[in-house]
């Protein structure tokens, strides 16, 4: 048996996954190989040291927090599933976008407006709108949607 193979078997032995044939083979190799004996000892110590990786107690309110996030999530999904609910906000975002274009035009002149408009036509407009939507999903939208349908 080669040392590399023996070391792999040492690892399996630590895990209790070595059958009796392999176990005898490893035993014979270790009897004649001081290097692998040293590795076996060190690996056993490493395994012991891992116990130092302690974790803190689980927080008492963990289940409650998961439950709260599930409630938030299902409210969010309800909004996604009912696209009409977006209408007032999509309109608001559209108006805000138009206002932005006008504002840029008024303050910085034609060149900037063209840049802004070309960014919009390149698809970057989605980024602008996305920001608007994300923000509007907050409290206000929940308040608008939630009373209409009872949340679970």
């Amino acid at each position: 048996m080669r040392c590399e193979h023996a070391k792999q078997m040492i690892s399996r032995r630590i895990d209790g996954e070595l059958d009796s044939d392999d176990s005898r083979g490893l035993h014979a190799h270790l009897a004649g190989c001081a290097d692998c004996r040293a590795v076996a000892t060190q690996l056993a110590i490493v395994d012991d040291r891992l116990d130092a990786l302690v974790v803190p107690e689980a927080p008492a309110d963990f289940s409650r927090k998961v439950s709260a996030r599930l409630t938030d999530q299902s409210a969010y999904e309800r909004i996604i599933r009912h696209p009409l609910a977006w209408f007032p906000h999509a309109t608001a975002a559209g108006l805000a976008f138009a206002a932005g274009v006008l504002l840029v035009y008024a303050s910085n002149g034609v060149r900037e407006t063209q840049t802004f408009a070309s960014a919009a036509s390149d698809g970057h407009v989605a980024d602008y709108l996305q920001v608007g939507f994300d923000e509007s999903i907050d409290e206000t939208l929940f308040q608008l949607i939630a009373p209409a349908e009872e949340l679970p």
Binding site: I14, D15, V46, D47, A52, L53, P56, F62
Partner: protein, 197 residues
Amino acid sequence: MPELSDEQLMEASGRGDREAFGLLVKRHHRTVLSFAHRCTNRLTRDAVDDLAQEVFLSAWKSAPTFQPQARVTTWLFRIAANACFNLRRRRRLRDVLTLRDDDDQRLAEAPQSTDRDPRSAEVRDAVDSLPPSQRAAIVLRHFHDMSYTDIAEVLDISVSAVESLLFRARERLRRELATTEDLSPKPQVLPDTGAQP
């Protein structure tokens, strides 16, 4: 009423039963939290709690696709392992782009107050230096007492790949720890026979 099995609870969760899912969370949150803690040493405690919450949110979302022949614990570990790997990928991407975002707070190097043994910091650093799959394998084996077959299922790899991951992880830990601490066995105290050499 007889206590429902994990799998029965998961099937009920798949049909939208929040109460059944709540029982599963109560049953398994400690396991998921401890796995997440050990797989993400450098996260703050709050960030790990948050990650574990996300694991359960993701479990709830995919509950309708749960296969009843699978084990819930294996399935939860799989989601948790993926969450830890993804976090690590995000961290690497952030390092490359040198962007700062909310993850900075999560990734604050927070010494864990649970360390009493000064050597445990060295062990944590050594474990942290392992590639994610090696780390997940060693955590599942050492702390969750999982068989090679179960680890293979969690990490979606072959049993021989698990064997190889564990071997490489141990070899790496052995070398890492050998540079910082004494890995020689404690000298045995032999009984004094009074005989002169």
